[in-house]
Symmetry: C2
Subunit: 325 residues, 2 copies
Amino acid sequence: MSAQQMHSPTAEGVARAAAKIAQLLPRTPLLETEIGGQPIWCKAESLQPVGAFKIRGAWHRLTDLGEAERKAGVVGVSSGNHAQGVAWAAQRLGIPATIVMPVDAPQVKLAATRAMGAEVVLYDRPGGEDRDTLATRLCQERGATLVHAYADPWVIEGQGSTGLEIAEQMAERGLGAPTRIVCPCGGGGLTAGLALACPDAAIVPVEPEGWDDVRLSLERGEIQRVPADAPPTPCDALQTPATWPINFAVLQKRVPFGLFVTPAEVRAAQRFAFDRLHLVIEPGGAAALAAALAGKVDLGGRTVIVLSGGNTDPESFARVLLQQD
Amino acid sequence: MSAQQMHSPTAEGVARAAAKIAQLLPRTPLLETEIGGQPIWCKAESLQPVGAFKIRGAWHRLTDLGEAERKAGVVGVSSGNHAQGVAWAAQRLGIPATIVMPVDAPQVKLAATRAMGAEVVLYDRPGGEDRDTLATRLCQERGATLVHAYADPWVIEGQGSTGLEIAEQMAERGLGAPTRIVCPCGGGGLTAGLALACPDAAIVPVEPEGWDDVRLSLERGEIQRVPADAPPTPCDALQTPATWPINFAVLQKRVPFGLFVTPAEVRAAQRFAFDRLHLVIEPGGAAALAAALAGKVDLGGRTVIVLSGGNTDPESFARVLLQQD
């Protein structure tokens, strides 16, 4: 079954995912800080057990698999965070997991995925077999279930549970619902999930410069691909070639526009998170904060920024701190 | 009124402090990780608004001041974290605050304290007037109230609220009460507070090598001072000359022994927190984790590690990541 033929993700699905996740994972903190005197709230998904929000969608997906599907195992494709999410959930549930990862994925992500017992199959990003094709072939050979990093209704619903937690946390503090949620965007799994979870909030996806296919897709009304000559970006977690129809269908209804940020803006956001929040945020995880700091987002009302992940190599992070890039 | 003449801190005071703090500050996360296969729970006080647990005691203390006392202002003495706690609480309550800080306090701590509107009075650590004498003189001159960093019943009770939050969070997850709580220790404010808050947990204070006056005081049954020729330590937050009777009275009843950690053990803990928890922890804040990682603490049962602060300069943290020290 290809991802396009699956059921559409729903707000009810998000609520069901959130209930399952609440039994397992403590809520990540919603940290208040300010930019230019304007309060903002940062959802620190970098503090999930695998260091990223991806654990949510993976858990929702894998716990819904039947007995036979669990036995046959799962295959994921990921530069690292979805990989760890799937590996973590699979290990807890005793499901064999194979993860297709790019050879240039950060070492910390490769090591962590292997440490959780997953088999890692490397692929070479620029040439060679397309990563989705490779994963589909592995699934056919093994009878395994593909757990796509974003083009999957369970994954979208699971990521959306982030939005329900945010709404709960705002309400508990006597604040109103979020006016807008700004989130890092790769393939659009988290963005679509938030759109379903928080129908009254503006959802603002932020991509890396040159990898802003979702922004262009929204602008042009049809799915655009990242060009083959896209520039390098520090945001490995957001290097997705294109969004998929299952995501785009949700985005088109709810998300009027997207934004992009430069590598320098991302580094400034990583330093801000270090200084003000004492958090280690990976480049891709800092994209939404970068847009807010760069003045690209209206911060009026109640703006929530998703800090989506914290898996970065110490050497890279030290360079960011020393402003050597 | 000197700190010794004050009322003794009590468990009831801790509960009252916790109730006030819960109205203002979201709970900091209790993050599960493992050391050598043994689960441990890390209380991330580095995620408090001022980057350290010190905000608790300061809030409890300042909110209990009367109208006239508030008007006359407060004076704090601190290498930086208590300074920020007092400055933060004072700013919220409209109380003038003066903080006595060492000239060699980390720049981030000096800047943050000033940014919160406090007047900073610098003193030169090795020679010159003793910092407590200087603070007492300022109080007399201004009619202000001294808010000692640890020798103060409100401060002890406020810091103890950390322990009640830990117990609550463990209970919510269906875990038993903590078997032991390992905490960084300077003057013994947090340690005494935890001892009052969690009467059934073993409390294990951890100090920097050469600054282990609390450990020695417990061993010898009377308060010991750090010698004048104590070695340098990266743990600026734990550089206190001696504990005070108000703290020691609590510690002697409840804390059988203390531990110390070397600078290398502290750096290893900072890297562990970076890799596994995606947290920025300052050297002093990592002392308890350092002891656990170095095999100095029995981790059986349910061990909670307090990560007490995250205020560190980017250059120092980069050196830790690059293993250059």
